[in-house]
């Protein structure tokens, strides 16, 4: 009995899987909507950090810079600045851009790290 029906069962399963892929990839593919900044591509993420750095260069508001960088994910803000500097160096960003990023990274690194005990 099973030997009789097994080929049809397998054929049906293959056809079902094929139809699911056609539906998922062609008829109704994934649309990226309502995403968050932490999913941004590296170049967009770097530009985001650069905008934060540019803004920080004018207002010197480190709280605001940290608040904005927090949207990029759970890492420490200075790590995002470091990543942005790395990418900027790879892509030969301008000296001005690198200076903005560097100033931001320095300011963020100067902040006490979590669990760090401040000297009296």
């Amino acid at each position: 009995m099973l030997a009789t029906h097994l080929p049809r069962l397998i054929l049906g399963a293959l056809l079902g899987g094929f139809l699911a892929l056609i539906y998922g990839w062609l008829i109704r593919p994934v649309e990226y909507v309502d995403t968050t900044p932490d999913s941004l591509r590296i170049d967009f993420r770097t530009d985001y950090v650069l905008m934060v750095a540019e803004s920080y260069s004018a207002d010197q508001d480190l709280d605001l810079a940290q608040f904005r960088l927090a949207a990029l994910g759970p890492l420490a803000p200075d790590e995002y600045a470091t990543d942005a500097i790395d990418y900027s160096l790879e892509q030969s960003f301008s000296r001005t851009d690198l200076e903005h990023l560097n100033h931001l990274a320095i300011a963020l690194r100067a902040l006490p790290q979590p669990g760090e005990i401040q000297a009296p």
Binding site: L19, L21, D59, Q91
Partner: protein, 259 residues
């Protein structure tokens, strides 16, 4: 194929669909990576636009700001940024005020299609969609107030305009060359409270224009945030349409930068 022959086939299709969806939704669900700003959720999109404006306020690089705004399809920059500025201003505290001013400034500059002063050959991210073209030099001075060049009251007049839906305090702020100045903060105070607003939020009415709706019977005092000069006793006044219908009149206040 007999009826009994179709049955295992249909069972197989069902199993295949179920297996495919189980794999796609539970074992290996979609992860959003490498997305573009255009796909951001509405609140993050607003934050991103505010960040573009803040960066523009810091760098004065309008070409770069426009390039960044171009990442958002279907965006009407000057309109949407002006509306966003008003939303941020409504927040009333925290980071909202600075961002509101920056958004108003960018909205006004975009409406005026000003080119930013030249900067060095800066460039943004490397992809084609985000490449920032080399800004073009421009000698156009930025019409923003500068320290040591205060604004003073140039004129103050009552206005009877039946086209206005409500009685307004209309403020125009201009530089020494009569050009409208956006992003100027205006403070209005009355006996029960105070509010502040910025020029440039309605770029269609001029870069240096701002208005505030008055309530009948309330007397307002107005000043520019960076100026000590007060304009007092601003209140609604009676006006009449040609057919005799009464309505409430407005004020037009003009500040100009001292040469």
């Amino acid at each position: 194929m007999s009826r009994s022959g179709w049955f295992p086939f249909l069972i197989g299709i069902g199993l295949g669909l179920a297996g495919g969806l189980y794999y796609a939704w539970l074992i290996n669900p979609v992860e959003y990576t490498d997305t573009a700003p255009d796909s951001l959720r509405a609140d993050f999109r607003s934050d991103y636009l505010a960040l573009i404006a803040s960066a523009y306020a810091a760098t004065d690089d309008l070409v770069r700001a426009r390039t960044r705004l171009a990442l958002f399809s279907g965006l009407e920059p000057s309109t949407e940024l002006a509306a966003l500025a008003q939303q941020r201003l409504a927040l009333g505290s925290g980071f909202g005020e600075g961002e509101a001013a920056a958004l108003a400034q960018l909205a006004a500059d975009l409406a005026n299609q000003r080119r930013s002063p030249a900067s060095t050959a800066t460039r943004g991210p490397s992809t084609a969609s985000t490449l920032v073209p080399t800004p073009l030099p421009s000698s156009t001075p930025r019409p923003t107030p500068t320290p040591g060049a205060p604004f003073s009251l140039a004129s103050q007049e009552q206005v009877c305009n039946p086209l206005l839906a409500a009685p307004l305090i209309q403020v125009e702020v201009s530089d020494a060359a009569e050009g409208g100045v956006p992003g100027v903060e205006i403070v209005v105070v009355w006996d029960a409270g105070q509010d502040h607003f910025f020029t440039g939020l309605k770029p269609e009415l001029g870069q240096g224009y701002a208005d505030f709706t008055m309530t009948e019977g309330v007397s307002y005092t107005l000043r520019l945030a960076d100026s000590g000069q007060l304009v007092t006793d601003l209140s609604t006044h009676p006006c009449e349409q040609p057919d005799g219908t009464p309505y409430l009149g407005s004020w037009l206040i003009h500040f100009q930068q001292t040469p």
